[in-house]
Every structure is written in C-alpha cells, then in structure tokens.
C-alpha cells in the first residue's frame, strides 16, 4: 500500500521534485536565517563570556549592553569589594577608539585592558602568548581584526597598529569570541589601556567580581544594586540583557521576515503542488476507492507520500544549511556562526507538521471523490 503510494508519487517526477525542493528551500531559508539570528544575538554576549573568571558585572544604571557602556567612577571597585559575598573585584576597562595600520587601513576598534596582577580577562591565543601584552606598547588582535586591518596578510611578529598617537606592536592573534559589532577586538595590558584612554576621566567601564564560595548571587547583586544604585548582574543576566537590548533594536525583524517568507513560500508551493497531484490523480484515487481501498488506507497512502516529500526535503535543506554554515564559519567575521540543534528541530518540526497538514487538506479532496464517477469519462 505504501509502496503503491510512493510509486504514484515517483511517477509524477516533476511534481515530486517541485515539492521536495520547495520543502528543502523552506528548510534552508528558515534554518539559515534562524541560525544567523541566534549566532548574531549570542555574539552580543561574546565579550562578557570571554571574561571567564568573573561571576558578577557591576555597571552604571544607564548601561544596557556590553558595547554601549557608561563608565563608573574610580572608587566603584573599592565599594564593590566591601560587599560580603564578593571574593574579589577588579576594574574592567574597555575603550572604543580608532586604529590604523602602517598601510593606512582604518577601523573603529574595541580595546580591552587586562590587569597584569590578576590576568582576569586574558584572551586565549591562536598565535603567540597572551602574557606578551604586559610588555610595553604591546597588543594582540582577534581574527576579525586581522582580516579587517590586514586583509590578505598572515600574522607576522612585529606588525604594528596605531592607536591614538602611539604605535603598538602586535604580539599575536587571540581567539576572542566574535563581537556583535564586528569591530576588531584588541587586548592590551590595563596600564596601556589607561594610557590610551587618557582623554577620558573615568577608567572603570565595569567592575567585574567573583562570588565567594557559597555566596548567593541573587542576594549579592541585590545588595550591591540597592545600596549603590548601580546595576549589578550575574554574567548570565548581563548576557541576557545585551541580547534583549539588540533584540529590542529590531535586529531580529529582518530575519523574521525572511523566515516567514521561507515558510510561506515553501509550504504554499508544496501544498499547492500536492493539491494538483491529487487532482490529477483523481481518477486513480477514485478507482482505488471503487476497488476496495478504505479512507483510512488512502489516508495512510497520502501520509506516506507527504512524509516522503517532507523527509527528503528537510534532509536536503538541512544538508545545505550545514554546508553553508561550515563554509561561512571559515570567514573571520562569521567564526561565531553555528547551527543550534534547537533551530534545526524547531524549523523541521514546523515545516514537517504544516506540510503534512497541507497534505491533509488535499486528502479532503480524496474524501469527496464520488465512487460512482468511476464510470464517467
């Protein structure tokens, strides 16, 4: 019975192919856009996650995300250190500035200062040794920065970068997580960052802190916030806040549009083609009814037909997404791209269910076929 159903489907190769490709297109577009969206939004937390040692982030109340931060006053560190449940607290200095190279390439960059004594926030390295940033006039850059400021070049020891009026020497390439902004991430020592930030009066973008063993994060953040008026967030809360900030800016809307279009186009095409398939095979279905196929049997047949289309389409579409994701990941700015299994599961479930439902509507046509019409030409 199922073999019969599949034979009927395969016999109409053009429609079969159209339906499979439509499902594949929907699976590709939705998963591709959804994984881009998830990857981009999770990049809003990249620089927060990269400070692996910090449990708490303290900031001015106006600060909503990592990238747009209003600095705290210099005494903030001492204040945070005074709270019970805080094991240690350090100033975290992030400077948004410009850089240029010897060849004249220019870019806005995100400069991060790492304190030499604690080494909190030190990057993991791809090339070179992170401790070299504590030498005078030294820096390391992330892969995105390399490709933006030194296009087509491999890292060479002794490469220079000019920040404000100072030439720093690049000591290596870090594996800093890809930033949402796409700006190069440059790590220097805290001392160097302070020096380059001398035009500003405040050098504490955030206070990062470690919870003491056994301390309750919710309680500590609440106490800090209440008695200082600052915002105190756990790492997860800060990541979520950054995610929300960019979501609220409308970043996802473009993705939602493409996802919706992908779903509608794919499903409409498949549903319409399936309906045409059923209409053109009306005579065959009527004959099957007359020869003793029951409605449940015909339902199983059509379910098998729809399922085959869905399974093939989803497989092809997902394979295409995996391939493009892997390809895109080789580009420095897309290194944070990945295909979460939740995205695949959600997209495939929705497309699968809706396509089978569309096939169900075609089944209604089969239900309505009049057996007596079998004698009519």
């Amino acid at each position: 019975m199922i073999a019969l159903a599949i034979q009927m489907l395969r016999h109409d190769g053009a429609k079969f192919l159209t339906m499979v490709l439509a499902v594949a297109l929907a699976a590709f577009l939705t998963q591709n856009q959804a994984s881009f969206l998830v990857a981009f939004l999770s990049m809003t937390g990249s620089q927060i996650r990269d400070v692996r040692e910090a449990d708490l982030w303290v900031m001015e109340p106006d600060t909503e995300c990592f990238d747009q931060a209003k600095p705290l006053k210099e005494t903030a560190v001492q204040t945070v250190r005074g709270f019970p449940g805080v094991e240690w607290a350090l100033p975290f200095l992030k400077v948004d500035t410009n850089a240029r190279t010897e060849s004249g390439k220019l870019s806005v960059i995100t400069l991060i200062g790492v304190p030499e004594e604690s080494r909190v926030g030190e990057p993991i390295m791809q090339i070179g040794d992170a401790t070299e940033i504590y030498q005078r006039d030294s820096a390391v850059i992330d892969p995105g920065g390399m490709s933006l400021l030194y296009p087509g070049q491999n890292f060479r020891p002794g490469m220079k970068i000019r920040i404000h009026d100072e030439w720093l020497t690049l000591r290596g390439v870090s594996m800093a997580s890809p930033p949402f902004t796409g700006f190069p991430i440059v790590h220097v020592s805290h001392a160097t960052a302070m020096r380059l930030n001398r035009a500003e009066t405040r050098n504490t973008t955030f206070v990062v802190a470690r919870l003491a063993a056994g301390a309750n994060a919710a309680k500590v953040t609440k106490e800090i916030a209440q008695s200082t008026g600052w915002k105190a967030l756990t790492r997860e809360q800060f990541e979520a806040a950054s995610w929300k900030f960019y979501s609220d800016q409308g970043v996802p809307n473009l993705f939602y549009i493409t996802i919706t279009v992908g779903l509608i186009v794919g499903i409409a095409f498949t549903g319409q083609t399936f309906l045409m398939f059923v209409k053109e095979n009306a005579r065959a279905f009527t004959t099957l009814k007359v020869l003793g196929f029951t409605h449940p049997q015909l339902a199983v047949m059509m379910f098998a037909q729809a399922s085959l289309v869905v399974v093939l389409g989803l497989s092809i579409g997902t394979a295409m997404v995996v391939a493009t994701t892997e390809l895109a990941k080789t580009l420095p700015f897309f290194r944070g791209l990945y295909l979460p299994w939740e995205v695949t599961l959600t997209c495939c479930s929705i497309i699968g269910c809706v396509t089978v439902m569309a096939a169900g509507m075609s089944f209604y046509k089969v239900l309505k076929l009049q057996p007596a019409d079998v004698f009519r030409a």
């Binding site: 019975m1 065959a284 196929f293 049997q297």
Partner: protein, 234 residues
Amino acid sequence: MNAVDCQKIEKSFGQGETQTKVLRGIDFTAAQGEMTFLVGPSGCGKTTLISIIAGLLGSDSGSVSLFGESLSSLSARDQILFRRRHLGFVFQQYNLLPALTAAENAAVPLFAAGMNRKLAVKKATDLLGALGIGHRADASPRLLSGGQQQRVALARALVHEPRLIICDEPTAALDHKSGESVMELLSSSAVHPDRAVVVVTHDNRVFHFAHRIAHMDDGVITHTESPTTQLSHH
C-alpha cells in the same frame, strides 16, 4: 438465489425544478453462472443502475441484494469490504493506474486486501499469462494497446476471484476485433458457476455472448430475452 436482485429501484438526480427521475422502479436480476447484458439507448440509466448495484451510489427507494445480502443493511465500511471481496469491475476507459506496471495494476484488489506485495504481483502475473498477455506484465499501461489494457483490466477484475463482475461498456473504446476478443476472454474466463457477470453495452455485435439480455429504456426494464445461441450451451 439470484446473484443480483433489484426490486423497485428509483433514483432521481438534482433538486426541485431541475430534478430528473433516471430510474423509475427497476426490477432486475442476474444469476450466477451467467453473463447478463444490460442494453438500452444512451442516457436511459444503465450506468446509474450498475452504480447502485455495486454500492457506489445510493438509491432513493427500492432494494438491492447481492447473494442474499441486503446492501443497505451494511455499514459504509462493510459495503467497501464487501465490494473489495466480492466485486470485480471492468470500465470503458480501463482506469489503469499509469504509475503501475500491468501486473501491479492487475494486483490492486489484492493490495487493497493487504496481501503481501510479491505474492500479489506473482498471482497477477500468472493470471496475465492465462489471459495471453504474460509477456507484457512489466509494461507500463501507456505502452499497451487498448485491447491489451482491457485485458489487464480484466485480470484486475478476476484476480481476487470475485462473485460478481460488473462491466460498463467494456468494448466501447475498442475496435471490433479487439472488442470481440475481449468479450471472448470475458466469457471464457469470467463466467463461472459461482459467479455472475453483468455487462452494460451498446454494442449489438457482441450480444451473442449474452445468456440473458435485459432491455432498458427511460428508467425501466422493458423486457428480458434469452438468446437461443447461448441457451443451447446450458
């Protein structure tokens, strides 16, 4: 007991002003071991009558019983199962599924009954052999001539050994020679002491195959005759 026993069948189509009464009290019987022809002018209601006999269409009044079983007493599902087990069909337009081979087409009633696919196709292939088109068993229907297609359809009507075979104009789409040979096959392979064959036809060149001929006009059976040529075989 008659294989088919229709009493006072009435059937109208349409509503109100456009309503037309197509069957006006039909009494019709068909016996096992016989080939019964139903003949009459176009539009007189032949197809409507056999649709009702086969349970494909409901009647407005009257009763149909097949082998003593009243169709209307069966549930919709049981009617289908009854049809699957006991009825075979031959259509004017063959109604073969283009996606299937000749043998698979002939095996469709066995598929419906849930028989193992290999076994069903084997059985159908053997039957095609007996009907003289074994060599075309793996061919697609569209590569077959009309006569060959109708022989595949005949195999499909016989493969599950039904007790009643209903044919609507089986030779109308064929030239005289193929029509004649299809009728010959039908009378030699379908007629069986336990089986009744009802054939609707216009084609008076094949009347000599009938055991009995029921003449129909404007929704009633006008008279029934038994051609002597066939009676002599009895």
